[in-house]
Symmetry: C2
């Protein structure tokens, strides 16, 4: 049994399959006889020395993580700044690692987390503390550099494509006397990957979604409204998928129209879909409906992509192997070796080439008119939603999601003051 | 082969399983060697003499209807008024029936449709036209009288409970540094059945959903905000499920706060969840997120309840049998014969006892504090989400939903002027 502890932490927004990565990490480490601690609420739990002893969990519960959405140990939104600005925090991390004999640190997150893992690894070297830092990819935004895709994205993409296809059937059935324009708001503040994946729901100019609004293209309201109108006149209705990150020519987020006030004099929270719905109704006079799935799109484990699940498990397994085999400042990434039939493998990539980068939709994925996706995009996106991996359901008709015991490891250091 | 035609029409908002009813209607009628026409866009298609010849569809496609959401022939929102006020329309219906030898009329809808079917049956009798009118129950609102539940509701309820359970896991994982209050808006303008069904996602004071806002109870903002605050302080986060139909003490719909204007000076469409989110953020200062699934909740065939699907098929089959056996002005309803294990049967009930009635949540289903459901509600709701009935998926990772050919029957009458 190797001496030392492996510490696993989740970071940033959770996904339908990040716990599948955690499950693979813990199972692989157990096979290698390595003790695994998990940080409560991500890096915050390291700073606070709130660690969880995963050896207290049954193997059945660890396996059940693979079909449970959310973040089993808690995650957090906490971006560490530069080593200079946040030195005290980085040093505290090393102190906690040292106190608990952490030799392997696995940080499961997106761009920011890759950056944090890289900095931690540099500081450890500076202090001569023997630590192997491995980033583990995860984000529904699919904006991580180098990796062909990010675990979590495929399931959110499948949710998006299926939901848009289903809602479009509803709209089509009712359009003659009811809603003519339906707007679905997809997550993606800077990159349009999820909105683009809605394009898989249909093909050709008359199939929904008819208009996809991507943050990679400037939003032109007049042009959008004209296209919505001509679609309604041609098809009978219009299904729009809008990325939350679209901006106008002045660079203003449409979602931040801001300062809305309702009749009670209260500020109103907005969003892209609600704003566009108002504009369609006011200018075109159509009945309009809109959906904002919000967290539903990133927690819909019931509709996970099997491909995505397999990616999530594979990067978890590889991350443990990389760490125990002595790699440092690396991340297992997904490499596509063929589109059709889809084939992929996991390879190691340096965190320095991933940290703080952001991958947006390539121009070649966006239809010339800006409102749809190309065959190239379909070839890329298609395989990522392939296959189903439903969770087991209980006799009560609900998925059997597991809740871990999350037994705390006693703190050894003085409390940390934020 | 009985002489005459059976006409089937869908009415009002569609559901995840209304096509399963259509599938059962057509299959049962085919077995009895009866010709089935379907009205395009519901009763509007009858008025316009836009009828579809279902004999042109393959048996495989008719079977596939059972796993396809939306309304395969189109539905409509068109409430006929009294026989006096809308006499010309009722007479037109009889004219179209006569022209196409329609002897059996099956109208698949909610309260209003039951009323229409009843009136049509009365007018036919008045004109000595031999017609058997059968209402077929359907509505995600579950507000139909007499029947134990309405086909379509169970699947929407399952979608609601599963989605809230999944989103709650997301919120729980992130609450320490991110969203503390999450608000899910459920359909149900007058009855809180869907919001109540979210209660199946958890049990006890600390499990999500923590607060359910029902239209059957007056919304008291100060009390709601105090409860949200105490929940966050106790649990770390608060998941709220709000029915779109909640009203304040003056009877005003919270969703109709109305008159919102954004910073561009445009009117903003609102909703209950967006309004409540603004109030929580402004008064409690918590980070808040909200979801509005809108049509997704009534078209999510991928997450249908098997029980609901079986109900939908059974009422379709029974409706054809009732009609062909000579019943008139009746509706097949679901009768519950036992809670645990759940048992049910279909019985005939007179449309006169169903038309224009609205079934709201019984007081005994609502927790004393007004923000949750009772054991009695769980016993009622639980069985309705039992069992899964996923659609087949294609190699592309998407459900294989069918699109019918919908071949038009040539019109025999002069065009109708609305």
């Amino acid at each position: 049994m190797p001496s030392g502890t492996l510490l696993y932490a989740q970071s940033g927004g959770v996904t339908a399959v990040i716990n599948a990565t955690a499950s693979a990490v813990i199972q692989t480490a157990r096979k290698r006889k390595v003790k695994v601690l998990a940080a409560r609420d991500g890096i915050l739990g390291v700073l606070r020395e709130q660690l969880i002893d995963t050896s207290k969990e049954s193997i059945a519960d660890i396996r059940a993580l693979a079909h449970t959405p959310g973040g089993a140990f808690g995650s957090c939104r906490l971006k560490l700044k530069s080593l200079e600005e946040d030195r005290a925090k980085y040093e505290r991390l090393i102190d906690v690692f040292r106190a608990h004999d952490v030799r392997w640190f696995l940080y499961n997150g997106g761009n920011d987390s890759a950056d944090t893992a890289l900095k931690v690894s540099r500081l450890a070297a500076e202090y001569d503390y023997p630590l192997h830092c491995i980033g583990v990819p995860k984000t529904i935004d699919n904006d991580l550099a180098l990796t062909d895709c990010s675990p979590g994205f495929g399931s959110a993409a499948k949710y998006t494509a299926v939901s848009v296809r289903e809602a479009a059937l509803d709209v089509a059935a009712m359009a003659e006397t009811s809603t003519k324009v339906f707007i679905y708001e997809a997550m993606g503040r800077h990159a349009g990957w999820l909105a683009a994946s809605a394009g898989l729901a249909g093909e050709g100019p008359d199939q929904a979604p008819h208009l996809i609004l991507l943050p990679e293209r400037t939003f032109d309201e007049a042009d959008f409204l004209a296209k919505a109108k001509s679609t309604v006149e041609r098809v009978g209705y219009c299904v729009v998928v809008a990325s939350e990150g679209i901006r106008d020519a002045d660079g203003r987020f449409i979602a931040d129209a801001g300062g809305r006030t309702d009749s009670f004099g209260h500020k109103q929270l907005g969003g892209v879909a609600s704003h566009l719905a108002g504009r369609v109704q006011d200018t075109l006079g159509y009945k309009v409906h809109w959906a904002l799935p919000d967290y539903l799109q990133r927690s819909a484990r019931h509709l996970a992509s099997r491909t995505d699940l397999e990616h999530a498990q594979a990067v978890g397994t590889a991350a443990v192997e990389y760490a125990l085999d002595g790699m440092n400042a690396m991340m297992p990434v997904i490499v596509r070796t063929a589109d059709a039939p889809y084939a992929w493998k996991v390879e190691a990539a340096p965190l320095s080439k991933i940290a703080n980068k952001e991958k947006t939709l390539p121009a070649g994925f966006i239809r010339r008119d800006g409102y749809g996706i190309t065959a190239k995009a379909r070839a890329y996106l298609g395989p990522l939603i392939h296959g189903e991996a439903p969770p087991p359901y209980g006799a009560d008709g609900l998925p059997r999601y597991v809740t871990l015991k999350n037994v705390a490891v006693p703190a050894l250091l003085a409390p940390w003051h934020e």
